[in-house]
């Protein structure tokens, strides 16, 4: 317990400078990128906008001022709780985030849970029935799944479940015609995106679980557990899988950025009004105020995910605990 | 002289060893007994520089040890060889027995191996009665074959037949594995040998055989041996003196 508390404290202490560095990095990237925020802001209209008008917008935004000045101004405002105005959405950043974040959290949260449980079960079954057709289908499917763009998977799911079978709505947060946000309706609309996000991100997890369980299944302690006459399920879950959890937990933390990328695509395929899809628009439009906040959120998610993973494997593997992880 | 002075070890808040001192003289066999769980293996790890004690000091031939585990100087580390209590845990499951025995040689590089071999002289003159002649003249020929021969000789000396050397740990019995561990410990000609329950799972004949091998080595090189065992009879036959570690980690050395 003390180890964990100390770890959390360390992480929190590290988080502040890290967040600062990440924003500076983001700012530098945004500056170095060849994208022109004004052109992106104007979109199609950029073509028919006089250069003088563009110049004026640039001036209004202050993006012609020195880099350092721009950054300190932004940081100052940020620390005072003023997150600025999103250029892509023409609205205050705080509002954009508040509108969208809950939906992203909801969908990705569900997807993470589904992904975890699903890949543990599926991966273990594949390892257990190694080289059988079940294993072949699972691991072949996982490799194929990793080769298929998320986008495709989304369209395919939509085609099957929404068009052909008509079981589930194909997209959106609620029924397009409804004017209220009914939880049941949202849940119904959430099924496909959550499923697709979970499936699209689970190849690594499934295969790594399989790999590790295959490894542990041949260890003496699993034979020991068998010798005790434990049920196969107990042997599999509490001995083989339990000891194989380490890389899996790590992967969870490490796959966070991939999950965000997946969320971006899934949100855009299923017209899910989350913050992830907004972040790509923000990046392409070099909408720094929004980009900075989405990046900070992303950083927090990654830090949180990694911290949980680290705590997880300190708990999962007592041998690591004795050495301590920083 | 391998000397441990006032060693205190704690795991978490539990004190396992409390100011224990122990000295292993070159050329002598010191037995160490004590109830199960009293900290004998822990003390062995401390003396092999593999565990940093909470307090206390270890000195090898008068040289105090200030850094531990990986950081301890190589020559000090290899000066003290430790035979672990659990052979299964102490070997890399991916290596063959031959690689396990040869590993310290390979790690030292062939130059060091050459001197090690030269230092011990005939390695294979075993008591095993196999008649396998050791190569007394190391440094001649290619270092690689010298190493290989040395490994083969040592393996024969501890009673490992040739077919076993190509197998991996899970393909041999625990006793065979333990013998490989003994060979591994001897291969760099350490000045001190710590045998943690070396013979505990071996049949009487093999046990006697290994004790002879260690004794022969000790006599040949003047190495000091710390023999940890529960078997008072065995220690009586083998050791020059026996120290008793009490429960709670108090040492009551009775030589």
């Amino acid at each position: 317990m003390r180890v964990i508390l100390r770890m959390v404290a360390w992480r929190v202490a590290f988080a502040v400078p890290l967040l600062l560095i990440v924003t500076v990095g983001m700012f530098a990237l945004a500056k170095a990128s060849p994208f022109d925020p004004v052109r992106q802001y104007l979109g199609d209209r950029a073509m028919v906008t006089a250069p003088e008008v563009m110049e004026r917008i640039r001036e209004n935004w202050g993006i012609d001022r020195p880099v350092l000045e721009q950054f300190t101004a932004w940081l100052g405002n940020f620390l005072q709780g003023d997150y600025g105005e999103s250029r892509t959405f023409h609205r205050p950043v705080a509002e954009v985030i508040m509108d969208r974040l809950p939906w992203t959290l909801l969908a990705t949260g569900c997807a993470i849970v589904l992904m975890l449980v699903g890949s543990l079960i599926v991966g273990t079954i594949a390892a257990w029935r190694r080289d059988s057709w079940v294993d072949r289908v699972i691991s072949g499917g996982a490799f194929a799944n990793e080769s298929v763009p998320v986008f495709w998977l989304g369209l395919l799911a939509m085609w099957v479940f929404a068009v052909q079978l008509g079981w589930l709505p194909a997209g959106g947060l609620t029924d397009p015609a409804s004017t209220t946000v009914d939880p049941l309706d949202v849940a119904h609309h959430m099924v496909l995106p959550v499923l697709v996000l979970a499936v699209s991100q689970s190849s690594w997890l499934v295969l790594f679980v399989r790999e590790s369980v295959i490894g542990t299944l041949r260890e003496d302690y699993v034979i020991g557990a068998r010798a005790r006459g434990l049920r196969e399920r107990t042997v599999l879950v509490r001995h083989a899988l339990r000891s194989a959890l380490l890389p899996f937990l790590t992967l969870l933390g490490a796959r966070m950025p991939e999950l965000v990328t997946g969320a971006i695509l899934v949100e855009s395929v299923f017209s899910w009004p989350g913050v992830a899809s907004a972040s790509v628009q923000a990046a392409l439009a070099v909408d720094f105020p929004l980009l900075a906040v989405t990046t900070l959120l992303g950083t927090l998610a990654v830090l949180g995910g990694n911290l949980l993973a680290d705590i997880g494997y300190t708990i999962a593997d007592p041998r690591v605990r004795t050495l301590g992880v920083g | 002289m391998l000397e441990a002075r006032d060693i205190t070890v704690r795991y978490g808040s539990r004190t396992v060893l409390d100011r224990v001192s122990l000295t292993v003289e070159p050329g002598a066999v010191l037995g160490l007994g004590g109830p199960s769980g009293c900290g004998k293996s822990t003390l062995a790890r401390v003396m092999a520089m593999m565990l940093r004690p909470r307090s206390g000091s270890v000195a090898v031939d008068g040289r105090p040890v200030s850094r531990w585990r990986q950081r301890a100087p190589r020559e000090l580390r290899t000066r003290v060889a430790l035979i672990y209590q659990q052979p299964r845990l102490a070997v890399d499951p991916r290596l063959t027995l031959r690689e396990i025995v040869a590993e310290p040689l390979a790690a030292a590089g062939t130059a060091a191996a050459g001197t090690a071999a030269a230092g011990t002289g005939t390695a294979g003159t075993g008591t095993a009665g196999t008649g396998t002649a050791g190569t007394g003249t190391a440094g001649t020929g290619t270092a690689g074959t010298a190493d290989a021969e040395r490994v083969a000789a040592l393996a024969a000396e501890v009673g490992l037949t040739g077919d076993l050397l190509t197998r991996r740990p899970h393909e041999v019995s625990d006793g065979q594995l333990q013998r490989a561990c003994v060979a591994r410990a001897l291969i760099l000609s350490p000045g001190y040998l710590i045998c943690d329950e070396m013979t505990t799972m071996l049949d009487a004949s093999t046990q006697a055989h290994l004790v002879r091998v260690v004794n022969a080595y000790r006599e040949r090189t003047g190495a000091g041996v710390l023999a940890i065992s529960h078997d008072a009879v065995l220690l009586g036959r083998w050791a020059d003196g026996v120290a008793e570690l009490g429960q709670g980690g108090k040492a009551a050395v009775s030589v």
Binding site: Y221 | S36, D174, E197, A204
Partner: protein, 325 residues
Amino acid sequence: MNRLTVENLSVSFRIPGAVVRAVSEASFTVRPGRCLALVGESGCGKSVLAHALLGLLPGNAEASGSAVLSQSGGGGDVELIGASERTLAGRVRGRAIGLIPQSPATHLTPVRTARAQMQEAVREMGRPPGTADELAEKFGLSPADLDKYPHELSGGMAQRVANAMALAGDPWLLLADEPTTGLDRDLVDRAMGALRALCDEGRAVLLITHDLRAAERVADDLAVMYASRIVELGPVREVLDRPRHPYSAGLVDAQPDRAFVPVPGMPPELTALPDGCAFAPRCGHRTDACDVRPARGGGDGRVACHHPLAVQDGVQEDAKEDSRA
């Protein structure tokens, strides 16, 4: 009545370019109330034999012969060799036959405490939760030590955990592979006492050990194994006091409280066992007859040797005489 009858059990391992004959034609019977001790040179196949009885051999092993488990409790006889995983897991392992593995530390799942694993075994065997502590107590393990993770256990503690855990399912037959490794004198006594008590309660124990003194105290019968074969099998006192196989005699003599000299020579390679007596190359009585493999014979079926030692203490009878008899 419960009984385990092993007949002509052989186990071999396929390895690249060779076959390891780890157990050859082993035959013996284990009955309730009796303790059979199995001793022999390191690497002669004792552990493999035990694993074979529980169907725990790796994939490259081949077992032949038969090992029939008869149980009075119903369910009929079970042929252990070649039994299905389901039968073994559901009826045999833990419940009918318990195993104390030789390297207890590696047979514990490293990421869970000893207690968690112990409780689990007790629970799955349908015994009350308190059993875990009771069993630990039986082998002199304090309940506090049960809360440790395997890597925090000392060698002896791990051994005690393993001993206790083997009894979780209250099996009538215990296969104890070196159950005293790493235990101090008191604990050895305690463990041996516990094993003896088991036998006295009407259970059976197959005790694999290197500790002949301990075997002498606990066991009823003693089997000596050499190079994959059981070369001598008889009442424990008989065998220890009057070993008839030269190897048995050497083994007895090698004890620290006796001569403390090893049996001369190297053990044979199990990949290239001679056609004749495997001990012959190390044997002082070797003759040409030894080129033919001796069967366990000699009236009481006790020893497999062409030149068994005389029945009288320390006096060697002429080998030819013996075979005449």
